[in-house]
Symmetry: C2
Subunit: 444 residues, 2 copies
């Protein structure tokens, strides 16, 4: 009997700003080299003898990126359940359980945070702990795991003996379902209704906005409190890596630290500095004579924070969101199902983007009311449709898309297409787009 | 009788990296709001009743930018003397004096560092000090000025009574000339020969490379030592602002500090931080819970340095220069006599630039052997020549420049032209340019 992982890949609290942002949550960012917490979490749960394919609960707006990241590491989920907006971890769990109820209600599930991973060195210990707990779950216990307390985990729920809740929950699906019904019959009913009314969309299961919006937002802790009698706490001797805060991540990733306690990722030079976390993938960042700093460099925003005073990123992220600053919400690089684009420059009446279309990818057939566009192909071969005409453009060839003309960009080739787009017009927002036909069935 | 300022705008030591670089020396960078140390130095010396037009000694490679900056603040130099490469402050002084000897050898000159300015609040005191010292200079004294010693000036020459050399020297030109001849007859002769052989080029006086290369490099201090008997030290009660090091500049610019001792320039947010110098003109930089940091953000390089341990920028700059890193030498934004350009993106076989041509500006008529170019005008009206054809391009119009085609870009209008250039080719270096005709008479 294999365990069904339920990976909760919902919102985050802004603790990894400026890398993580509203539209680019921490669990989808390349925090572990080129891999994201979601990928590391899924990898931790990819032992085929112990775990079956996971259910992933994610926000609809992140569906293509989440699916792509799972595909990139060879994980094929049993289902990707999409919430129009996150209603918290308990609602996400309820949605997954309601779906599980329709296929195999007596299965044993492992509820797993999508921003938590197991170090490779601890993978064996993790699997042994889950295996050892299986008979308990089969006997209808709710099993939690408790890891050695680390200072950076002290805000999580404290257990006796210096252990803290490691964040996983192993139990029969039906048992958890019953607990949710006990905690909030309204949530249980809402989740079942949402799953019953859900709509298949490509490989996704889309929950309805109106239904999910009525799901009560309840603290996950209430589930554990309700389980109190049947709660079985298993001690583990390793600590998972939780990607929620730079100081915490720095401390937990001691295997990535050099002899001075520094983690330096990207193009970084450190002189006489110690216990710093530097992340600067695209430009040179130099530190001299400093200690305990998180220095996180992105294209449009930089954080320099004292790691001895945690919470800085969260506070800044919230403050920027309050004033509607774009740096709180999105990166200049944005992902689309067909590839990605990055804003290179912008002026009063123009904007320049570098667009990458992956092999086989195609944008919607679209038009704009306020801008004209020039495309210059700089790598690969693009198939460009303008009005009634479709032609192939090679490197160093250009196309002009007049205002109002229907157009589409596709990559019929074997290598990525890169092109430079120069937009001209009085309004250049992403929302000036009318999709006439879309292979990815996006509404807007 | 007005004093002739001689402004030495030569090399710098890398203390303001990453803002200042080999091809972008500190005295030409916008350090004081949008004004450079050269502009602030020239402004300090622009009192028409006391000072005549200055002689500026600069490196040939910086001539257009230096001239433009002086023009922008309404200063018309008597001469801009160009060294092919800097031979140090004493050689620069010798070149200026050799030129002065040919027009008015008995004039009183003020030797002034090009990276030193007088605060506006101190402008009156500065003029009074120079005025008061004029009779001494007329009587053939060599007058130096000594400012209150500040910790950040302690590396400069210490005088009695807690005063340090303020960096200016007031004397008759003939007197200084005689001193140089005494210190190094070779330098005096070389400087006269260099001036005699100099070539007028537009508004510049270009010294010959072979002649100036033979000028001995001698410590400026030797001049003061030789003057010992006739050296007259005048105490002043203000301290000039010297742009040579971030900690020094931070301390000297106390008028730019907020209540917590922070200087925040550009898009910066500081939480619970004190005594920091943040400079981030083009992107958001956030600091939290830190003290005594210089955080200097440029397009391609970032410095985070403890200001209590000076010398970091100099050390990093030298280290990067040793490994030929481009960040030691030039900015992605480069100035040209016709305007400027900035590299926005680069790939294996392409490069994207935003080019700005000022009204009346024109590039050389040129061609490339290894690249083709697409131009898309995004602001203003450009006059584009390709081969035998010249036409006007407006916003949202494009031109294609095939490999090998002679082309020129000009701005016949009243507002700046902005355009996006997309280069394609196997070699994209700045040196793949054959100038067929150049309004600015550049050799290459």
């Amino acid at each position: 009997m294999r365990v069904r992982p339920i990976i909760l890949s919902g919102t985050d609290g802004g603790g990894l700003w400026p890398l993580a942002r509203g539209q680019a949550p921490s669990h989808l960012q390349p925090i572990f080299g080129d891999r994201s917490p979601l990928q590391e979490a899924a990898r931790s749960l990819a032992s085929a003898d112990l775990f079956g394919p996971p259910i992933v609960v994610a926000q609809a707006q992140h569906r293509f990126l989440a699916a792509q990241q799972l595909a990139d590491i060879g994980v094929t989920p049993e289902a990707i359940i999409l919430e129009p907006a996150s209603r918290g971890a308990l609602a996400a769990t309820a949605f997954a359980l309601a779906w599980q109820e329709t296929v195999e209600p007596e299965a044993i599930v492992l509820i797993a945070p999508g921003d938590q991973a197991v170090r490779k060195a601890d993978a064996g210990a993790f699997r042994r702990a889950v295996s050892a707990a299986l008979p308990l779950a089969a006997a209808s216990d709710i099993v939690t795991f408790a890891a050695p307390a680390r200072p950076w985990l002290k805000h999580r729920r404290a257990y006796a003996d210096g252990l803290v809740d490691a964040g996983w929950l192993l139990a029969k699906a039906s048992k958890l379902q019953a607990l949710i019904d006990a905690v909030s019959p309204e949530l249980g009913a809402c989740a079942r209704r949402a799953v019953a009314q859900a709509r298949a969309d490509l490989d996704f299961l889309r929950l309805d906005a109106a239904t999910t919006a009525s799901a009560p937002e309840i603290d996950f802790q209430r589930l554990l409190d309700a389980a109190q009698d049947g709660l079985n706490i298993q001690a583990i001797d390793f600590t998972p890596v939780l990607a929620r805060d730079w100081p915490e991540l720095h401390a937990a990733r001691r295997d990535a630290q050099d002899a001075d306690g520094n983690i330096a990722e990207g193009d970084a030079i450190l002189l006489e500095s110690a216990n710093c976390y530097v992340r600067s993938p695209d430009r040179l960042t130099t530190l001299s004579g400093v200690q305990d700093l998180a220095v996180i460099v992105t294209d449009d925003a930089i954080l320099v924070a004292n790691m001895k005073a945690p919470g800085a990123a969260r506070m800044l992220s919230a403050r920027l969101a309050q004033t509607n600053r774009p740096e709180a919400n999105a990166h200049p690089m944005e992902h689309r199902p067909w590839g990605q684009f990055k804003r290179l420059a912008a002026g009063d009446r123009y904007q320049v983007k570098r667009i990458t279309v992956k092999p086989g990818g195609a944008t919607s057939l679209q038009k704009h009311h306020h801008r004209a566009e020039h495309w210059v192909v700089v790598a690969g071969t693009a198939e460009v449709t303008v009005g009634a005409e479709t032609r192939l453009l090679m490197e160093n060839e250009a196309a002009y898309l007049p205002l109002g003309a229907a157009h589409r960009l596709a990559n019929p080739g074997k290598i990525p297409v890169e092109l430079i787009e120069v937009q001209s017009g009085a309004y250049l927002g992403e929302d000036d787009i009318m999709r006439l036909d879309d292979p990815y069935q996006r509404d807007a």
